[in-house]
């Protein structure tokens, strides 16, 4: 096989990869579907989708660090990025859980209020609590993106 033939194969491969790049599913596409505010439960679904998407890359990270052919320095970088991202994602899941529990309490209180067993004040206070938890969750959602991006960058290298 000549150098010219090799170059031709690589040119074809590059064109194929370029073409494939046009129809890939990106993490952003997954989140666009999950975070669609036109549907109920979008806040918690969005947070869960971030963790689910992260898990896809965490699985790749595990394969990466177990691969004996990968350079040790890169493995160290992947392990470090994975550790930081995992902590952020676990905090995000804790915040999501807190939000879901408060929402369940609020639903129960509203039913009790309808039956005359809870006061509007109690419901109002729970609503405020839910608003605080929702703001917290939005902050966590914003925080996660750079960590996932770093891991994607490392695994793509």
């Amino acid at each position: 096989m000549t150098v010219r033939q090799l170059q031709f194969i690589f040119l074809l491969a590059a064109i194929a990869l370029y073409a494939l790049a046009g129809c890939v599913t990106t993490p952003q596409q997954v989140l666009k579907v999950a975070c669609d505010r036109n549907y109920e439960y979008a806040t918690e679904r969005c947070a869960k989708a971030i963790a689910d998407t992260y898990r896809v890359y965490q699985k790749r990270a595990e394969e990466f660090v177990l691969d004996p052919t990968r350079p040790e320095k890169l493995k160290r970088d992947v392990r470090s990025a994975e550790e930081t991202a995992t902590n952020v994602i676990l905090d995000l899941l804790d915040a999501t859980k807190a939000y879901v529990l408060i929402k369940q309490d609020l639903d129960a209180l509203e039913k009790l209020m309808a039956a005359g067993d809870a006061t509007p004040k109690e419901v109002g206070e729970k609503s405020k609590e839910l608003q605080v938890a929702s703001n917290d969750l939005d902050l966590w959602i914003e925080n996660t993106e750079p960590h996932i991006q770093l891991l994607i960058k490392l695994l793509g290298s």
Binding site: A13, V24, P27, A34, L66, T86, V100, L155
Partner: protein
């Protein structure tokens, strides 16, 4: 998408084998290995992301349960422990 990548992986691997049989230098063969490797990783990632997109599309408007969140946390934590355990021990 994953079908295309499957064929792409297969073609690059075959091209690598043909190149090796035709006396291409080992250094050049490394490029084939790299291409195959990159497409393999992309293929699995793409399959997972596509499945997630379909799952979230189908589950639109449904609530998230505490049990689901706990299971997800436990899985992520367990994998994190396995990944970190592969590092050098201090």
């Amino acid at each position: 998408m994953s079908d295309y990548l499957f064929w792409f992986t297969l073609v690059t691997r075959l091209a690598g084998v043909i190149a090796a049989k035709n006396g291409v230098a080992p250094k050049e063969l490394e490029y084939f290995k790299l291409l195959t490797d990159v497409s393999r990783i992309t293929m699995f990632t793409q399959a997972d992301l596509k499945a997630l997109e379909a799952k979230y599309e189908a589950e639109r408007g449904t609530p998230v349960t505490v049990e689901e969140l706990d299971a997800l946390s436990a899985d992520i934590r367990a994998r994190n422990e396995r990944i970190q355990a592969t590092g050098e021990k201090p």
